[in-house]
Protein backbone atom coordinates (compact mmCIF):
# COMPACT_ATOMS: atom_id res chain seq x y z
CA UNK A 1 0.00 0.00 0.00
CA UNK A 2 1.28 3.48 -0.86
CA UNK A 3 2.56 5.12 2.30
CA UNK A 4 1.32 8.68 2.83
CA UNK A 5 4.86 9.97 3.45
CA UNK A 6 5.96 8.78 0.02
CA UNK A 7 3.36 10.80 -1.84
CA UNK A 8 4.16 13.90 0.23
CA UNK A 9 7.88 13.52 -0.57
CA UNK A 10 7.06 13.31 -4.29
CA UNK A 11 4.91 16.45 -4.05
CA UNK A 12 7.62 18.31 -2.10
CA UNK A 13 10.34 17.42 -4.60
CA UNK A 14 8.07 18.51 -7.47
CA UNK A 15 7.38 21.81 -5.69
CA UNK A 16 11.10 22.41 -5.08
CA UNK A 17 11.83 21.69 -8.76
CA UNK A 18 9.05 24.02 -9.83
CA UNK A 19 10.18 26.88 -7.59
CA UNK A 20 13.82 26.42 -8.64
CA UNK A 21 12.85 26.61 -12.32
CA UNK A 22 10.46 29.51 -11.80
CA UNK A 23 12.85 31.41 -9.59
CA UNK A 24 16.62 30.91 -9.67
CA UNK A 25 16.94 32.11 -6.10
CA UNK A 26 15.24 29.11 -4.56
CA UNK A 27 18.19 26.76 -4.04
CA UNK A 28 20.59 29.39 -2.70
CA UNK A 29 22.18 29.34 0.73
CA UNK A 30 20.20 32.38 1.87
CA UNK A 31 16.90 30.99 0.76
CA UNK A 32 17.59 27.51 2.14
CA UNK A 33 18.15 29.14 5.54
CA UNK A 34 14.82 30.88 5.19
CA UNK A 35 13.05 27.66 4.16
CA UNK A 36 14.64 25.79 7.04
CA UNK A 37 13.31 28.42 9.44
CA UNK A 38 9.82 28.09 7.97
CA UNK A 39 10.06 24.32 8.37
CA UNK A 40 11.71 23.87 11.77
CA UNK A 41 9.10 25.21 14.21
CA UNK A 42 6.05 23.37 12.78
CA UNK A 43 8.07 20.15 12.55
CA UNK A 44 9.18 20.23 16.21
CA UNK A 45 5.63 21.00 17.32
CA UNK A 46 4.35 18.25 15.01
CA UNK A 47 6.54 15.73 16.89
CA UNK A 48 4.45 16.33 20.01
CA UNK A 49 1.08 16.69 18.32
CA UNK A 50 1.62 13.46 16.35
CA UNK A 51 2.13 11.51 19.61
CA UNK A 52 -1.06 13.07 20.98
CA UNK A 53 -3.11 12.54 17.81
CA UNK A 54 -2.02 8.90 17.66
CA UNK A 55 -3.39 8.30 21.18
CA UNK A 56 -6.54 10.29 20.32
CA UNK A 57 -5.74 13.55 22.06
CA UNK A 58 -4.75 17.03 20.86
CA UNK A 59 -3.12 20.12 22.35
CA UNK A 60 -4.52 23.40 21.00
CA UNK A 61 -2.51 25.49 23.48
CA UNK A 62 1.00 24.55 22.37
CA UNK A 63 1.37 27.82 20.42
CA UNK A 64 0.66 29.81 23.58
CA UNK A 65 3.26 27.82 25.53
CA UNK A 66 5.59 28.72 22.64
CA UNK A 67 5.02 32.44 23.41
CA UNK A 68 5.22 32.05 27.19
CA UNK A 69 8.45 30.08 27.56
CA UNK A 70 10.93 32.83 26.48
CA UNK A 71 9.41 35.15 29.10
CA UNK A 72 9.82 32.51 31.81
CA UNK A 73 13.44 32.15 30.74
CA UNK A 74 13.88 35.95 30.80
CA UNK A 75 12.42 36.23 34.29
CA UNK A 76 14.51 33.32 35.58
CA UNK A 77 17.62 34.99 34.18
CA UNK A 78 16.63 38.31 35.73
CA UNK A 79 16.41 36.53 39.08
CA UNK A 80 20.10 35.70 38.74
CA UNK A 81 20.11 32.26 37.09
CA UNK A 82 22.71 31.45 34.45
CA UNK A 83 21.10 31.39 31.00
CA UNK A 84 21.37 27.62 30.61
CA UNK A 85 19.63 27.11 33.97
CA UNK A 86 17.00 29.67 32.93
CA UNK A 87 16.37 27.63 29.76
CA UNK A 88 15.94 24.49 31.85
CA UNK A 89 13.59 26.37 34.20
CA UNK A 90 11.47 27.53 31.24
CA UNK A 91 11.25 23.97 29.88
CA UNK A 92 10.34 22.66 33.34
CA UNK A 93 7.54 25.23 33.58
CA UNK A 94 6.26 24.15 30.15
CA UNK A 95 6.37 20.52 31.29
CA UNK A 96 4.25 21.48 34.30
CA UNK A 97 1.70 23.08 31.97
CA UNK A 98 1.59 19.81 30.03
CA UNK A 99 1.16 17.91 33.30
CA UNK A 100 -1.74 20.18 34.27
CA UNK A 101 -3.39 19.64 30.87
CA UNK A 102 -2.95 15.90 31.25
CA UNK A 103 -4.28 15.75 34.81
CA UNK A 104 -7.35 17.84 33.96
CA UNK A 105 -8.04 15.85 30.79
CA UNK A 106 -7.57 12.42 32.35
CA UNK A 107 -8.56 13.08 35.96
CA UNK A 108 -11.67 15.16 35.29
CA UNK A 109 -12.54 13.35 32.03
CA UNK A 110 -12.62 16.55 29.98
CA UNK A 111 -11.89 16.12 26.25
CA UNK A 112 -8.41 17.50 25.57
CA UNK A 113 -9.88 19.70 22.85
CA UNK A 114 -11.75 21.56 25.62
CA UNK A 115 -8.98 21.48 28.23
CA UNK A 116 -6.45 22.96 25.86
CA UNK A 117 -8.91 25.47 24.43
CA UNK A 118 -9.26 26.83 27.95
CA UNK A 119 -5.49 26.67 28.45
CA UNK A 120 -5.04 28.61 25.21
CA UNK A 121 -6.76 31.68 26.68
CA UNK A 122 -5.32 31.17 30.17
CA UNK A 123 -1.73 31.03 28.96
CA UNK A 124 -2.17 34.01 26.64
CA UNK A 125 -3.38 35.97 29.67
CA UNK A 126 -0.39 34.85 31.73
CA UNK A 127 2.04 35.79 28.94
CA UNK A 128 0.51 39.23 28.49
CA UNK A 129 0.50 39.78 32.26
CA UNK A 130 4.13 38.87 32.90
CA UNK A 131 5.32 40.71 29.78
CA UNK A 132 2.95 43.64 30.32
CA UNK A 133 2.29 43.27 26.62
CA UNK A 134 5.79 44.31 25.53
CA UNK A 135 8.54 42.34 23.78
CA UNK A 136 11.61 41.62 25.88
CA UNK A 137 15.29 41.18 25.07
CA UNK A 138 16.76 37.69 25.13
CA UNK A 139 19.86 37.12 27.30
CA UNK A 140 22.90 35.01 26.42
CA UNK A 141 26.32 35.20 24.77
CA UNK A 142 26.88 34.69 21.03
CA UNK A 143 27.85 31.01 21.33
CA UNK A 144 24.73 29.94 23.22
CA UNK A 145 22.53 32.21 21.09
CA UNK A 146 24.04 30.66 17.97
CA UNK A 147 23.33 27.11 19.13
CA UNK A 148 19.82 28.01 20.24
CA UNK A 149 18.69 29.52 16.96
CA UNK A 150 20.65 32.58 15.87
CA UNK A 151 22.84 30.60 13.42
CA UNK A 152 20.87 30.20 10.20
CA UNK A 153 20.59 26.41 10.29
CA UNK A 154 20.53 25.77 14.03
CA UNK A 155 16.74 25.52 14.25
CA UNK A 156 16.55 22.93 11.48
CA UNK A 157 19.40 20.96 13.08
CA UNK A 158 17.40 20.87 16.31
CA UNK A 159 14.35 19.83 14.34
CA UNK A 160 16.20 16.93 12.69
CA UNK A 161 17.64 15.85 16.06
CA UNK A 162 14.23 15.87 17.69
CA UNK A 163 12.68 14.08 14.72
CA UNK A 164 15.36 11.37 14.96
CA UNK A 165 14.82 10.87 18.70
CA UNK A 166 11.02 10.92 18.44
CA UNK A 167 11.06 8.51 15.49
CA UNK A 168 12.97 6.03 17.66
CA UNK A 169 10.59 6.66 20.56
CA UNK A 170 7.52 6.02 18.41
CA UNK A 171 8.79 3.00 16.47
CA UNK A 172 11.28 1.35 18.78
CA UNK A 173 10.15 1.82 22.37
CA UNK A 174 7.31 0.43 24.41
CA UNK A 175 6.16 4.02 24.96
CA UNK A 176 5.59 4.54 21.25
CA UNK A 177 4.03 1.14 20.65
CA UNK A 178 1.65 1.63 23.57
CA UNK A 179 0.74 5.13 22.34
CA UNK A 180 -0.27 3.55 19.02
CA UNK A 181 -2.15 0.72 20.74
CA UNK A 182 -4.16 3.18 22.87
CA UNK A 183 -5.28 5.08 19.79
CA UNK A 184 -5.99 1.92 17.83
CA UNK A 185 -8.11 0.09 20.41
CA UNK A 186 -8.25 1.50 23.91
CA UNK A 187 -10.17 -1.53 25.25
CA UNK A 188 -7.52 -3.92 23.97
CA UNK A 189 -4.78 -1.69 25.38
CA UNK A 190 -6.46 -1.70 28.78
CA UNK A 191 -6.98 -5.49 28.57
CA UNK A 192 -3.26 -5.90 27.94
CA UNK A 193 -2.56 -3.89 31.09
CA UNK A 194 -1.10 -0.81 29.40
CA UNK A 195 -0.96 2.24 31.70
CA UNK A 196 -3.17 4.39 29.47
CA UNK A 197 -3.34 7.48 31.69
CA UNK A 198 0.39 7.58 32.29
CA UNK A 199 1.12 7.46 28.56
CA UNK A 200 -1.44 10.11 27.65
CA UNK A 201 -0.24 12.48 30.39
CA UNK A 202 3.36 11.86 29.31
CA UNK A 203 2.50 12.83 25.76
CA UNK A 204 0.84 16.07 26.96
CA UNK A 205 4.01 16.89 28.92
CA UNK A 206 6.13 16.10 25.87
CA UNK A 207 4.06 18.33 23.58
CA UNK A 208 4.07 21.34 25.91
CA UNK A 209 7.80 20.98 26.50
CA UNK A 210 8.54 20.78 22.77
CA UNK A 211 6.28 23.81 22.22
CA UNK A 212 8.19 25.76 24.86
CA UNK A 213 11.52 24.68 23.36
CA UNK A 214 10.43 25.83 19.88
CA UNK A 215 9.43 29.19 21.38
CA UNK A 216 12.91 29.53 22.87
CA UNK A 217 14.56 28.73 19.52
CA UNK A 218 12.46 31.38 17.76
CA UNK A 219 13.17 33.95 20.47
CA UNK A 220 16.93 33.33 20.24
CA UNK A 221 16.79 33.56 16.46
CA UNK A 222 14.87 36.84 16.43
CA UNK A 223 16.73 38.19 19.46
CA UNK A 224 13.64 39.06 21.44
CA UNK A 225 10.60 37.48 23.06
CA UNK A 226 7.26 38.55 21.62
CA UNK A 227 4.09 38.00 23.69
CA UNK A 228 2.14 37.50 20.47
CA UNK A 229 4.57 35.02 18.88
CA UNK A 230 3.47 31.52 17.91
CA UNK A 231 -0.17 31.24 18.81
CA UNK A 232 -2.78 29.13 17.09
CA UNK A 233 -1.08 29.66 13.71
CA UNK A 234 2.03 27.68 14.66
CA UNK A 235 -0.09 25.05 16.43
CA UNK A 236 -2.21 24.47 13.34
CA UNK A 237 0.88 24.29 11.13
CA UNK A 238 2.24 21.60 13.47
CA UNK A 239 -1.00 19.61 13.41
CA UNK A 240 -1.29 20.07 9.64
CA UNK A 241 2.30 18.85 9.13
CA UNK A 242 1.45 15.68 11.01
CA UNK A 243 -1.85 15.08 9.25
CA UNK A 244 -0.44 15.83 5.79
CA UNK A 245 2.28 13.30 6.59
CA UNK A 246 -0.29 10.60 7.28
CA UNK A 247 -1.08 10.80 11.00
CA UNK A 248 -4.69 9.62 11.40
CA UNK A 249 -6.92 12.27 12.95
CA UNK A 250 -8.93 9.42 14.52
CA UNK A 251 -5.79 8.02 16.18
CA UNK A 252 -3.98 4.71 16.03
CA UNK A 253 -1.63 5.49 13.14
CA UNK A 254 1.03 8.02 12.24
CA UNK A 255 4.74 8.54 11.78
CA UNK A 256 7.20 11.20 12.91
CA UNK A 257 8.91 11.10 9.51
CA UNK A 258 5.51 11.93 7.99
CA UNK A 259 5.37 15.04 10.18
CA UNK A 260 8.82 16.04 8.93
CA UNK A 261 7.92 15.70 5.25
CA UNK A 262 4.55 17.38 5.86
CA UNK A 263 6.34 20.32 7.50
CA UNK A 264 8.87 20.50 4.65
CA UNK A 265 6.05 20.60 2.10
CA UNK A 266 4.27 23.43 3.92
CA UNK A 267 7.55 25.35 4.39
CA UNK A 268 8.50 24.98 0.72
CA UNK A 269 5.04 26.19 -0.33
CA UNK A 270 5.22 29.14 2.04
CA UNK A 271 8.72 30.19 0.99
CA UNK A 272 8.26 29.47 -2.71
CA UNK A 273 5.13 31.57 -3.02
CA UNK A 274 6.76 34.36 -1.04
CA UNK A 275 9.69 34.33 -3.51
CA UNK A 276 7.21 34.36 -6.40
CA UNK A 277 5.77 37.50 -4.89
CA UNK A 278 2.32 36.02 -4.47
CA UNK A 279 -0.02 38.15 -2.45
CA UNK A 280 -0.35 37.01 1.20
CA UNK A 281 -4.12 36.69 0.86
CA UNK A 282 -3.79 34.39 -2.15
CA UNK A 283 -1.13 32.50 -0.27
CA UNK A 284 -3.49 31.66 2.60
CA UNK A 285 -6.02 30.36 0.07
CA UNK A 286 -3.39 28.08 -1.47
CA UNK A 287 -2.20 26.77 1.92
CA UNK A 288 -5.78 26.21 2.99
CA UNK A 289 -6.58 24.20 -0.12
CA UNK A 290 -3.36 22.20 0.22
CA UNK A 291 -4.21 21.28 3.82
CA UNK A 292 -7.79 20.38 2.93
CA UNK A 293 -6.70 18.15 0.05
CA UNK A 294 -4.12 16.42 2.23
CA UNK A 295 -6.58 15.84 5.07
CA UNK A 296 -9.32 14.47 2.79
CA UNK A 297 -6.75 12.11 1.26
CA UNK A 298 -5.64 11.13 4.76
CA UNK A 299 -9.13 10.21 5.92
CA UNK A 300 -9.94 8.21 2.80
CA UNK A 301 -6.59 6.41 2.85
CA UNK A 302 -7.27 5.42 6.47
CA UNK A 303 -10.65 4.02 5.48
CA UNK A 304 -9.07 2.02 2.68
CA UNK A 305 -6.34 0.68 4.94
CA UNK A 306 -7.81 -0.44 8.20
CA UNK A 307 -11.24 -1.84 7.46
CA UNK A 308 -12.44 1.09 9.53
CA UNK A 309 -12.91 -0.50 12.92
CA UNK A 310 -10.94 0.67 15.89
Amino acid sequence: MLRPEASVIVVSVALIAYFEIANANFLTNDNLQTVSQFVAAPVIIACGEIMLLICREIDLSVGQVFALSPFIMGHAEALGMPVVAAIVAALAACALIGLAIGLITIGLKVPSFITTLGMLFLITGITLTISRGFPANIPGGPFLTGIMGAWGYSEIVWAFLIVAVMHVVLRHTRWGLHTTAIGGNIVAAAEAGIAINRIKIGNFILTSTLGGFTGLLEAFRVGSADPLAGGSGIMFLGVASGVIGGTAIAGGAGTIVGGLVGGIMLGVLQDGFTLQGINAFTFDIIIGVAILVAMVANIHLARLRGGGRG
Binding site: H172, R174, T180, N185, A189, A192
Partner: protein
Amino acid sequence: MSGAAPGVGGEPARAEAIRAENVVKAFGKVTALAGVSLHVARGETLGVLGDNGAGKSTLIKILTGYHRPDAGQVFVDGRPVELASVDDARALGIECVYQDLALVNGLSIYHNMFLNREPLRWGPLRLLDHRAMRRRAAEALAEIGVDVPSVELEVGMLSGGQRQAIAVARAVYSNARILLLDEPLAAMGAREARLIIELIERLRARGDIAIVMIAHNYAQTLEICDRVMLMQHGEVTFESPAATTSAEELLDIVRREYRAIRTR
Protein backbone atom coordinates in the same frame (compact mmCIF):
# COMPACT_ATOMS: atom_id res chain seq x y z
CA MET B 1 8.25 -17.18 30.06
CA SER B 2 8.70 -20.06 27.64
CA GLY B 3 5.66 -20.68 25.48
CA ALA B 4 5.10 -24.38 25.74
CA ALA B 5 4.49 -26.17 28.98
CA PRO B 6 5.33 -29.84 28.68
CA GLY B 7 2.32 -31.46 27.05
CA VAL B 8 0.86 -34.11 29.29
CA GLY B 9 0.16 -37.00 26.99
CA GLY B 10 -2.54 -39.54 27.77
CA GLU B 11 -3.17 -40.65 31.38
CA PRO B 12 -3.15 -39.51 34.07
CA ALA B 13 -4.34 -36.26 32.52
CA ARG B 14 -7.78 -34.87 33.32
CA ALA B 15 -6.73 -33.19 36.53
CA GLU B 16 -9.35 -30.66 37.57
CA ALA B 17 -8.28 -27.17 36.44
CA ILE B 18 -11.09 -24.92 37.59
CA ARG B 19 -14.25 -25.41 39.62
CA ALA B 20 -16.95 -23.00 40.74
CA GLU B 21 -19.41 -23.91 43.49
CA ASN B 22 -22.81 -22.27 44.01
CA VAL B 23 -21.77 -18.93 42.60
CA VAL B 24 -24.37 -16.20 43.22
CA LYS B 25 -24.28 -12.75 41.70
CA ALA B 26 -26.96 -10.07 41.75
CA PHE B 27 -26.95 -6.59 40.25
CA GLY B 28 -29.43 -4.62 42.33
CA LYS B 29 -32.68 -6.57 42.23
CA VAL B 30 -31.67 -8.63 39.22
CA THR B 31 -30.20 -12.02 40.06
CA ALA B 32 -27.77 -12.83 37.27
CA LEU B 33 -26.47 -16.06 38.79
CA ALA B 34 -28.59 -18.01 41.28
CA GLY B 35 -26.09 -20.60 42.48
CA VAL B 36 -24.13 -21.90 39.50
CA SER B 37 -21.52 -24.65 39.68
CA LEU B 38 -19.12 -25.87 37.02
CA HIS B 39 -15.90 -27.81 36.72
CA VAL B 40 -13.46 -28.34 33.87
CA ALA B 41 -10.42 -30.60 33.70
CA ARG B 42 -7.18 -30.05 31.82
CA GLY B 43 -7.56 -31.32 28.28
CA GLU B 44 -11.33 -30.92 28.48
CA THR B 45 -13.61 -28.54 26.62
CA LEU B 46 -16.84 -27.37 28.27
CA GLY B 47 -19.52 -25.64 26.24
CA VAL B 48 -21.78 -23.18 28.07
CA LEU B 49 -25.01 -22.68 26.14
CA GLY B 50 -27.94 -20.40 26.79
CA ASP B 51 -29.87 -17.43 25.52
CA ASN B 52 -29.01 -13.80 26.11
CA GLY B 53 -29.55 -12.93 29.74
CA ALA B 54 -29.04 -16.50 30.93
CA GLY B 55 -26.01 -15.44 32.96
CA LYS B 56 -23.22 -16.80 30.73
CA SER B 57 -21.34 -13.51 30.52
CA THR B 58 -21.65 -12.86 34.25
CA LEU B 59 -20.23 -16.31 34.93
CA ILE B 60 -17.27 -15.65 32.61
CA LYS B 61 -16.67 -12.27 34.22
CA ILE B 62 -16.51 -13.88 37.66
CA LEU B 63 -14.03 -16.49 36.44
CA THR B 64 -11.83 -13.75 34.93
CA GLY B 65 -11.88 -11.65 38.12
CA TYR B 66 -13.88 -8.84 36.54
CA HIS B 67 -16.85 -9.30 38.91
CA ARG B 68 -16.68 -10.69 42.45
CA PRO B 69 -19.35 -13.22 43.41
CA ASP B 70 -21.84 -12.41 46.21
CA ALA B 71 -21.61 -16.00 47.41
CA GLY B 72 -19.95 -19.22 46.33
CA GLN B 73 -16.36 -20.24 45.81
CA VAL B 74 -13.99 -20.68 42.88
CA PHE B 75 -11.20 -23.28 42.99
CA VAL B 76 -8.14 -23.43 40.72
CA ASP B 77 -6.18 -26.69 40.75
CA GLY B 78 -8.32 -27.73 43.73
CA ARG B 79 -7.35 -24.75 45.88
CA PRO B 80 -9.89 -22.06 46.82
CA VAL B 81 -8.98 -18.71 45.24
CA GLU B 82 -10.10 -15.09 45.52
CA LEU B 83 -10.25 -13.51 42.08
CA ALA B 84 -10.26 -9.84 43.05
CA SER B 85 -9.03 -8.54 39.70
CA VAL B 86 -8.30 -9.53 36.12
CA ASP B 87 -4.61 -9.58 37.06
CA ASP B 88 -5.31 -12.06 39.87
CA ALA B 89 -7.03 -14.39 37.44
CA ARG B 90 -4.27 -13.99 34.89
CA ALA B 91 -1.61 -14.84 37.47
CA LEU B 92 -3.45 -18.15 37.95
CA GLY B 93 -3.38 -18.81 34.20
CA ILE B 94 -6.97 -17.78 33.47
CA GLU B 95 -7.37 -15.85 30.22
CA CYS B 96 -10.49 -14.84 28.38
CA VAL B 97 -10.52 -14.19 24.63
CA TYR B 98 -13.15 -11.76 23.39
CA GLN B 99 -13.68 -11.76 19.68
CA ASP B 100 -13.72 -8.05 18.96
CA LEU B 101 -11.99 -6.48 21.91
CA ALA B 102 -8.72 -8.32 21.99
CA LEU B 103 -6.56 -6.91 19.22
CA VAL B 104 -5.34 -3.54 17.93
CA ASN B 105 -6.15 -3.41 14.22
CA GLY B 106 -3.49 -0.87 13.28
CA LEU B 107 -0.64 -2.94 14.72
CA SER B 108 1.09 -5.96 13.22
CA ILE B 109 0.36 -9.52 14.30
CA TYR B 110 3.64 -9.77 16.20
CA HIS B 111 3.12 -6.48 18.03
CA ASN B 112 -0.34 -7.69 19.06
CA MET B 113 1.05 -11.02 20.24
CA PHE B 114 3.47 -9.21 22.56
CA LEU B 115 1.39 -6.19 23.55
CA ASN B 116 2.65 -5.00 26.95
CA ARG B 117 4.97 -8.00 27.18
CA GLU B 118 7.46 -6.80 24.59
CA PRO B 119 10.99 -8.17 24.74
CA LEU B 120 13.65 -5.42 24.80
CA ARG B 121 17.06 -5.37 23.19
CA TRP B 122 20.05 -5.61 25.47
CA GLY B 123 21.51 -2.24 26.35
CA PRO B 124 20.77 0.98 28.16
CA LEU B 125 18.28 2.33 25.62
CA ARG B 126 15.53 -0.22 26.26
CA LEU B 127 14.56 -0.48 22.60
CA LEU B 128 12.03 -3.01 21.33
CA ASP B 129 13.47 -6.25 20.03
CA HIS B 130 11.37 -6.46 16.85
CA ARG B 131 13.39 -9.38 15.50
CA ALA B 132 12.84 -11.55 18.58
CA MET B 133 9.15 -10.66 18.57
CA ARG B 134 8.77 -11.64 14.91
CA ARG B 135 10.62 -14.93 15.39
CA ARG B 136 8.84 -15.92 18.60
CA ALA B 137 5.43 -14.90 17.27
CA ALA B 138 5.96 -17.03 14.15
CA GLU B 139 7.10 -19.96 16.31
CA ALA B 140 4.17 -19.63 18.70
CA LEU B 141 1.67 -19.52 15.84
CA ALA B 142 3.30 -22.47 14.07
CA GLU B 143 3.27 -24.48 17.30
CA ILE B 144 -0.50 -24.35 17.58
CA GLY B 145 -0.98 -24.56 13.84
CA VAL B 146 -2.20 -21.04 13.05
CA ASP B 147 -1.28 -20.23 9.49
CA VAL B 148 -0.69 -16.59 8.47
CA PRO B 149 1.28 -15.33 5.45
CA SER B 150 3.48 -13.09 7.60
CA VAL B 151 3.52 -11.97 11.23
CA GLU B 152 4.20 -8.44 9.94
CA LEU B 153 0.69 -8.10 8.53
CA GLU B 154 -1.55 -5.57 10.22
CA VAL B 155 -4.26 -7.31 12.22
CA GLY B 156 -6.87 -5.09 10.55
CA MET B 157 -6.10 -6.83 7.24
CA LEU B 158 -7.02 -10.26 8.61
CA SER B 159 -10.37 -12.04 8.54
CA GLY B 160 -12.45 -12.46 11.70
CA GLY B 161 -11.33 -16.07 12.03
CA GLN B 162 -7.67 -15.23 11.69
CA ARG B 163 -8.00 -12.45 14.26
CA GLN B 164 -9.68 -14.83 16.68
CA ALA B 165 -6.90 -17.36 16.11
CA ILE B 166 -4.26 -14.71 16.84
CA ALA B 167 -6.06 -13.73 20.05
CA VAL B 168 -6.23 -17.36 21.18
CA ALA B 169 -2.58 -17.88 20.26
CA ARG B 170 -1.62 -14.85 22.32
CA ALA B 171 -3.48 -16.17 25.37
CA VAL B 172 -1.84 -19.59 25.03
CA TYR B 173 1.58 -18.05 24.49
CA SER B 174 1.21 -15.99 27.64
CA ASN B 175 0.74 -19.26 29.55
CA ALA B 176 -3.03 -19.41 29.77
CA ARG B 177 -3.94 -22.81 31.16
CA ILE B 178 -7.63 -22.07 31.67
CA LEU B 179 -8.91 -20.56 28.46
CA LEU B 180 -12.32 -18.87 28.36
CA LEU B 181 -13.66 -18.24 24.85
CA ASP B 182 -16.52 -15.78 24.53
CA GLU B 183 -18.57 -16.66 21.43
CA PRO B 184 -15.52 -17.77 19.44
CA LEU B 185 -17.59 -18.68 16.36
CA ALA B 186 -20.07 -15.79 16.33
CA ALA B 187 -20.53 -13.99 13.02
CA MET B 188 -18.18 -16.32 11.21
CA GLY B 189 -18.55 -18.10 7.88
CA ALA B 190 -18.20 -21.88 7.65
CA ARG B 191 -14.56 -21.87 6.53
CA GLU B 192 -13.57 -19.36 9.18
CA ALA B 193 -15.39 -21.35 11.86
CA ARG B 194 -13.61 -24.53 10.72
CA LEU B 195 -10.27 -22.78 11.33
CA ILE B 196 -11.20 -21.99 14.93
CA ILE B 197 -12.80 -25.39 15.62
CA GLU B 198 -9.62 -27.12 14.49
CA LEU B 199 -7.55 -24.78 16.63
CA ILE B 200 -9.65 -25.55 19.71
CA GLU B 201 -9.31 -29.28 19.00
CA ARG B 202 -5.54 -28.99 18.73
CA LEU B 203 -5.38 -27.11 22.03
CA ARG B 204 -7.49 -29.77 23.73
CA ALA B 205 -5.20 -32.47 22.35
CA ARG B 206 -2.24 -30.88 24.13
CA GLY B 207 -3.87 -32.00 27.34
CA ASP B 208 -2.64 -29.15 29.55
CA ILE B 209 -5.33 -26.57 28.82
CA ALA B 210 -8.90 -26.44 30.12
CA ILE B 211 -11.28 -24.68 27.76
CA VAL B 212 -14.62 -23.08 28.60
CA MET B 213 -16.50 -21.92 25.55
CA ILE B 214 -19.60 -19.73 25.58
CA ALA B 215 -21.77 -20.22 22.53
CA HIS B 216 -25.20 -19.91 20.95
CA ASN B 217 -25.03 -22.59 18.29
CA TYR B 218 -26.00 -25.97 19.77
CA ALA B 219 -24.84 -28.21 16.91
CA GLN B 220 -21.40 -26.57 16.61
CA THR B 221 -20.87 -26.60 20.36
CA LEU B 222 -21.76 -30.31 20.63
CA GLU B 223 -19.27 -31.04 17.86
CA ILE B 224 -16.39 -29.22 19.56
CA CYS B 225 -16.96 -29.83 23.27
CA ASP B 226 -16.56 -32.84 25.53
CA ARG B 227 -19.35 -31.68 27.75
CA VAL B 228 -22.12 -29.07 27.51
CA MET B 229 -24.03 -27.13 30.10
CA LEU B 230 -27.29 -25.27 29.49
CA MET B 231 -27.93 -22.07 31.43
CA GLN B 232 -31.37 -20.45 31.82
CA HIS B 233 -32.24 -17.43 33.95
CA GLY B 234 -29.10 -17.70 36.07
CA GLU B 235 -29.19 -21.44 36.72
CA VAL B 236 -27.72 -24.54 35.15
CA THR B 237 -30.76 -26.45 33.94
CA PHE B 238 -29.06 -29.27 32.07
CA GLU B 239 -25.60 -30.78 31.89
CA SER B 240 -24.40 -33.75 29.85
CA PRO B 241 -21.43 -35.21 27.98
CA ALA B 242 -21.72 -34.06 24.39
CA ALA B 243 -21.78 -37.63 23.15
CA THR B 244 -24.98 -38.55 25.00
CA THR B 245 -27.14 -35.56 24.07
CA SER B 246 -28.22 -33.83 20.89
CA ALA B 247 -29.17 -30.41 19.61
CA GLU B 248 -32.80 -31.64 19.54
CA GLU B 249 -32.76 -32.57 23.21
CA LEU B 250 -31.27 -29.20 24.18
CA LEU B 251 -33.79 -27.34 22.01
CA ASP B 252 -36.61 -29.33 23.61
CA ILE B 253 -35.56 -28.20 27.08
CA VAL B 254 -35.47 -24.58 25.96
CA ARG B 255 -38.84 -24.86 24.19
CA ARG B 256 -40.46 -26.46 27.22
CA GLU B 257 -39.22 -23.51 29.25
CA TYR B 258 -40.80 -21.00 26.86
CA ARG B 259 -44.06 -22.93 26.78
CA ALA B 260 -44.11 -22.88 30.58
CA ILE B 261 -43.64 -19.11 30.58
CA ARG B 262 -46.42 -18.60 28.03
CA THR B 263 -48.95 -20.73 29.91
CA ARG B 264 -48.11 -19.26 33.29
